[in-house]
């Protein structure tokens, strides 16, 4: 623990520069856009540079601390907010501010025609502040404040175009789903407080021996945190908000709903990983949650036609993969994949932003096609991003995904699941690429054109990182003790890409033909793939939908029936009249008074 002044000043700078940017941007909301844009971009860049300056220190294994305030002092408990930075924090800080800056820069071009740019940029800065606070806090309570703050900013930015009811509904959905997770977080904090009366990370970890004697408490705490993770990181039962969250502007989707906020759950588990691995059942819960999420996301991405929703589901799937890595006990691999994912998914999102911008808001991939000719830069960038995500060696996704795959080989069934998952990834990505970039143009609008320079530079940087990021950083994450049998994995991924990608193309082509009802021209390979891959797949999905989905739907309907019958009495109480609402509140207060003041008369 080091609290030298220099590093605490750096920490303050990293945290508070974006806040300053937000304050200034909000105060200067009525001024010209240029000033606000400069301020917000400059503060985030400053934050990024500061975290780079402090990085050598942290990489050496030092832990920097900085005091903020004593928030609340109660007998027995003291809630103080402070900052702490170690390697994990550094990774998050660099990722948040780096991707954040690129997205700011991209937004200059993307939002050029929007009248409320100032509001947009101030929200972005506020988001970065809360996200930094989330990762830099030295206690769960500070993380929780950041956790709520990023939820708020996510809500504000999803509903940024607040004239459409659908956007507002999506924003509310995201907010409410996140609140469900937050309940888990609060329960975990409460139980921890009751058990060891501190929420400070280092003190929690110091209290681990005490906690180990009370496995039930440990289980409840980690379960609560897992629910929180499921909410924020869009895991299995609570993932549904993320696809809807695509109602926001595309750069926001890239920053919040792909690269940073949704990784808060991964951060939380990594920060308290000792707790999770000590608690009974927690690791296995994480593992199964991740598997369910990864598969639902992967399968859903295959059938989507909305460009952004495809990437949203693919984000869900990749987050599931990170949680799988966490469940397997590989925190470093999860973080590695998180960083790589931030690169290539931000790249893919910004690329799709380019397309949507060029097509004036068109998001349906059935109305695209042939864009490789008119948008060569975007096509190259997104091709790189997709290849990186598929795990083509030696692009970034290869290192991280295959590290996870390598660990999974020690757990028999899981490695097969992961290979199927990679096939799914390759399949939907190639299908999407075919729809968007190949074939004949199906747009109704005028000729698309590439975005401005400020939109292309971030894409170029992210593209560069997606190519070499894994190669540069893999030494940081993959400890020399862990051997990765490269050759085998290289062959596996090459085979997967080589076989599955044409299938994706073929399926896309088939869907297009169905879509256009034009006569089909089949080549030999297409027929081959059609018979051996596409038709079985369609058959399988139809079977699943008939036999499986109906059962599931019936089961869920049953639950709904039970719930609605059970809630009938409660619903009758909910008259919507303010008087009755106040009356219930007052009745509750009377009951509390009765208990607090002891015996009646």
């Amino acid at each position: 623990m080091v609290t030298d002044t220099m590093s605490s000043i750096f920490l303050y700078m990293i945290l508070f520069l974006p806040l300053t940017g937000w304050l200034l941007a909000s105060l200067l909301r009525r001024t010209t856009h240029r000033i606000v844009i400069w301020i917000t971009c400059a503060t985030v860049l400053g934050s990024f540079i500061t975290s780079l300056i402090i990085s050598p220190k942290l990489l050496d294994g030092m832990v920097c601390n900085a005091k903020l305030i004593n928030w609340l002092s109660l007998p027995g408990y003291r809630f103080s907010l402070g900052l702490m930075a170690d390697k994990l924090t550094l990774l998050m800080m660099v990722m948040i501010t780096g991707v954040g800056f690129l997205v700011h820069m991209y937004s200059i071009g993307y939002m050029a025609d929007d009248r409320e740019k100032n509001r947009y940029f101030s929200y972005l800065n506020l988001f970065i502040f809360f996200m930094l606070f989330l990762v830099m806090s030295d206690s769960l309570i500070g993380t929780f404040i950041g956790w709520e703050g990023v939820g708020l900013c996510s809500y504000l930015l999803i509903g940024f175009w607040n004239t459409s009811p659908a956007n507002i509904a999506a924003a509310s959905k995201a907010f409410i789903m996140n609140r469900i997770g937050d309940i888990g977080f609060m329960v975990a904090m409460g139980v921890l407080l009751a058990a060891i009366s501190t929420l400070n990370y280092s003190e929690i970890i110091a209290h681990l021996p005490d906690l180990l004697t009370q496995p039930t408490i440990l289980f409840v705490v980690t379960l609560g945190l897992i629910i929180a993770v499921a909410g924020k990181s869009a895991q299995f039962p609570l993932y549904t908000w993320l696809p809807d969250a695509m109602a926001g502007p595309t750069p926001v989707s890239a920053l919040i709903h792909a690269a940073t906020m949704v990784t808060a759950g991964i951060y939380l588990v990594s920060r308290l990983s000792v707790l999770f691995y000590a608690a009974p059942y927690s690791a296995i819960n994480l593992l199964w949650m991740g598997i369910a999420t990864a598969f639902i996301g992967g399968v859903a991405a295959v059938v989507q036609f909305d460009l952004k929703k495809i990437f949203a589901y693919s984000t869900v799937s990749q987050l599931g993969l990170m949680v799988i890595a966490l469940g397997l006990g590989q925190v470093k691999f999860a973080l590695f994949h998180m960083l790589m994912h931030a690169f290539f998914k931000a790249l893919l999102f910004l690329g799709s932003g380019n397309i949507i911008h060029a097509l004036h808001g068109e998001q349906d991939i059935r109305n695209m096609g042939g864009l490789a000719k008119s948008l060569p830069f975007t096509a190259t960038a997104m091709g790189i991003g997709a290849l990186a995500m598929m795990g083509l060696p030696p692009l970034s996704g290869f290192y991280s995904k295959d590290a996870i795959l390598e660990v999974a080989t020690h757990h028999a069934g899981i490695s097969y699941l992961l290979i199927i998952l990679s096939c799914l990834t390759v399949f939907y990505l190639s299908r999407t690429l075919y729809f968007v970039f190949l074939g004949t143009p199906r747009m109704s609008t005028v000729t698309p054109h590439e975005g401005t320079l400020s939109m292309q530079i971030p894409i170029a940087i992210l593209g560069f990182l997606a190519v070499v990021g894994g190669w540069i950083t893999h030494n940081l994450f993959l400890a020399p003790g862990i051997e990765i049998s490269h050759l085998q994995l290289v062959i596996t991924s090459l085979v997967i890409i080589g076989v599955i990608a044409p299938m994706g193309f073929a399926w896309a082509k088939r869907q297009l033909h169905d879509h256009e009802n034009s006569p089909r021209v089949w080549s030999f390979f297409e027929i081959l793939y059609d018979t051996f891959a596409v038709k079985p797949y369609l058959y399988l999905s139809r079977m699943l939908s008939i036999h499986f989905e109906r059962q599931v739907a019936a089961a869920f309907n049953g639950f709904a029936q039970i719930a609605s019958v059970a809630s009938w009495g409660i619903v009758r109480l909910q008259t919507g009249s303010i008087g009755s609402v106040v009356l219930f509140m007052v009745v509750a207060i009377a009951l509390i008074l009765l208990t607090v003041l002891g015996k009646f008369i």
Binding site: G576, S577, I578, G579, L583, V586
Partner: protein, 100 residues
């Protein structure tokens, strides 16, 4: 001579009357007035409790609460006026468009 017990009893009676008013009245302005009455009952309670010690801090506290209450009334009335302009109605039960 009055004792703090008397004042506290008066305070709780006033509070209950205000509470009944908030629940049963539908007019937004009257409901706000009832809230004011409840607030005043609370202030009276503070004064009543401080009678024994004569701590001047209690009076200062009451003064500050009055200040805040004044601000609150101003904002509340502005909102009611605005809502009235929207809906041509002061019935609280009809202010339901914010309900989800």
């Amino acid at each position: 001579m009055i004792s703090s017990t008397h004042i506290l009893i008066l305070s709780s009676i006033l509070f209950s009357i205000g509470l009944i008013g908030v629940i049963i009245r539908r007019n937004a302005i009257v409901a706000l007035m009832c809230v004011e009455l409840m607030l005043n009952a609370g202030l009276l309670g503070i004064i009543g409790s401080s009678l024994t010690t004569r701590d001047p801090s209690a009076q200062i506290l009451v003064l500050f609460i009055m200040l805040i209450a004044a601000a609150e009334v101003a904002v509340g009335l502005a909102i009611i006026v605005m809502a009235f302009q929207h809906l041509r109605d002061t019935d609280l039960d009809n202010y339901s468009s914010m309900k989800w």
